[in-house]
């Protein structure tokens, strides 16, 4: 079994390299297709033909984009993420601190949301059709039906503006104590937990219910096992694959999709960096961010696949 999983990881790693390359090419072509380049965007309203030509030459943007892309790729192989076009700072420096921020926020949100989501999902499945199940369903859907910016704005209004318990901005203050960390992360984490939990709760519930109906769980029930016991020991292991995938898909949102939370709470993360990169056509920055998002996503889904295989002996 261990060798099987090892093989899978090696196989996935090889293919991941290929996937990254494809993503990188796709991002390059997409960026190239966008109208305007860094020089015209930076000059904005002042983009007269002379000024654009001059700035382009000064920024070394006058050589074909393909050359620049391949130079970036060869640099990447040597571990160099390149230099940002717009401010001449190494992309690694731009990303560094923000990447840590993003991972921290994603990590805390995961620790909060996954246990809650699994508990709610599994218990809802155990008591399917009950009032409890209904309430969980309505609340879950109700919560994600509210747009993210509205959850965040409401939280700020309640906890910062009216109650004055928490700071409205996550990075306006220096962090010195654990209590402050808690205060700073409370609202972004709650907002994100709301957003990512729903899919996990719903999919967990559905996957567990689906396996409850399989013959062997029914057999366990007939043999006199209690419903919770049947669910936990017989149905759940079989539902782990789909649940792990749902969790992976939900969590992948936390790597690159948290732009709204970053904006409203003024939290410097990589999602905003990507948006900046796209709006200034800063190819090395866009590429580097895209690679980070892609690696994050591939890691999560590979983990989900491994968990699925470990949980279902037949898949080996």
């Amino acid at each position: 079994m261990r060798t099987y999983v090892l093989n899978l990881i090696v196989h996935r790693l090889l293919i991941a390299g290929l996937t990254l390359l494809i993503v990188s090419f796709a991002v390059f072509f997409a960026t190239a297709m966008l109208p305007g380049d860094t020089a015209t965007i930076l000059l904005g309203q002042a983009a007269t033909p002379d000024a654009v030509a001059g700035l382009r030459a000064a920024m070394h943007l006058d050589e074909p984009a393909v050359f620049r892309f391949f130079r970036w790729l060869t640099g990447l192989i040597q571990g160099d993420l390149g230099t940002s076009y717009v401010n001449n700072v190494a992309v690694a420096d731009l990303i560094g601190g923000r990447f840590v921020n993003t991972m921290r926020l994603a990590g805390i949100t995961t620790l909060v949301s996954v246990p809650i989501a699994l508990t709610l999902g599994i218990t809802a499945a155990m008591f399917r059709g009950s009032l409890y199940d209904r309430i969980v369903t309505v609340l879950t859907i109700g919560v994600i039906s509210v747009p993210e910016f509205m959850i965040a704005t409401s939280a700020v209004l309640i906890f910062s503006v009216y109650l004055k318990w928490l700071p409205a901005l996550s990075f306006a203050n220096e962090v010195t104590s654990f209590w402050q960390v808690l205060k700073i992360y409370a609202m972004p984490v709650i907002t994100l937990a709301f957003v990512v939990s729903a899919q996990m709760i719903r999919m967990t519930r559905a996957a567990v219910i689906d396996t409850i109906n399989t013959p062997y769980v029914e057999a366990a029930l007939l043999k006199g096992a209690s419903r919770p016991r049947a669910v936990l020991y017989h149905a759940l292991p079989n539902a782990v694959g789909p649940i792990a995938n749902a969790i992976a898909l939900s969590l992948s949102y936390l790597v690159g999709g948290v732009i709204i939370v970053e904006t409203i709470f003024n939290y410097p993360g990589v999602a905003k960096l990507m948006v900046d990169g796209v709006s200034t056509r800063d190819l090395p920055l866009i590429q580097s961010c895209a690679i980070i998002f892609c690696i994050g996503y591939l890691a999560l889904i590979t983990l989900a696949d491994i968990v699925a295989i470990l949980a279902n002996p037949r898949l080996r």
């Binding site: 293919i15 290929l18 996937t19 494809i22 993503v23 796709a26 991002v27 997409a30 960026t31 297709m33 966008l34 059709g129 209904r134 309505v138 859907i141 109700g142 994600i144 039906s145 509210v146 747009p147 993210e148 910016f149 509205m150 704005t153 409401s154 209004l157 729903a198 899919q199 719903r202 999919m203 559905a206 996957a207 219910i209 689906d210 109906n213 399989t214 079989n238 694959g241 789909p242 792990a244 995938n245 749902a246 992976a248 898909l249 992948s252 690159g256 732009i259 990507m274 948006v275 796209v278 866009i286 895209a290 998002f293 892609c294 996503y297 591939l298 989900a304 699925a308 279902n312 898949l315």
Partner: protein, 280 residues
Amino acid sequence: MTLSTPLSSKFSYSFSWVGMIGLAIIVFWAVIALAAPHIIPYPIGEIVDEDYFGPMSSKLLFGSDYLGRDMLSRLMMGARYTVGISLAAVCIACFSGTALGMAAAVIGGWFDTVLSRFLDALNSIPSKLSGLVVAAAIGSSINVLIVMLAVIYTPGAYRFARALAVNVNTMDYITVARTRGESILYIIFSEILPNIMGPLLADFGIRFVFITLLLSGLSFLGLGVQPPYADWGALVHENISGLPFGAPAVIVPSLAIASLTISVNLLIDNLPKKIRDRSA
């Protein structure tokens, strides 16, 4: 609903009761969407209130928005976009995602690997970037918007369907069917699909919510719904400044979104047993 046994009749009655409410709300919004152009009290671009974020009144049932336009009219017209576009996009995304996912699970091998990695790659391209590219290259129209939404949500549907189908694919009865020499299409649609229908429908419901919300995000990239029209998500967004005062302009469209998405999910949860569970 025939009375077979007291227990099951009690259950199926209560299931359909909640399901019926869900269905009724969906039908209600669908009717509003279809009839909207004929029943809105004011043109949706007309400023009918000197004030902004006006309260509910007999003249303006749902108050006025940030420009002083009639919220009721805007909400009704918004139903056309939110209900129509979201439903179309979610159907395309779930159908293609599920079909491909089951095929990948059953066929396996290189087909599975190539398709899986391709969709992984697709999912890794930031949607803002692809949205901008599509807006710049193809231009804006409702059809483009629907396809775009469907493309963004297909990889997720695929991954979930594949994970479910892979599990089922290892069951004995599939092996039996294979040795019987059944075609791949038969195995997919007769053996696998009925057995994973429940979770797939749940996935459909959740994806519908996501699409409803992303819709307005893409409109801001210049894809799709154009002013003065706005989908419900966009209505919430443009009136969010009214939130501190509980303005109906921001509360009403939020409730509309919630009512629709909750109804869709309740309906799915309470579909007659025959459809949503294994046909055992």
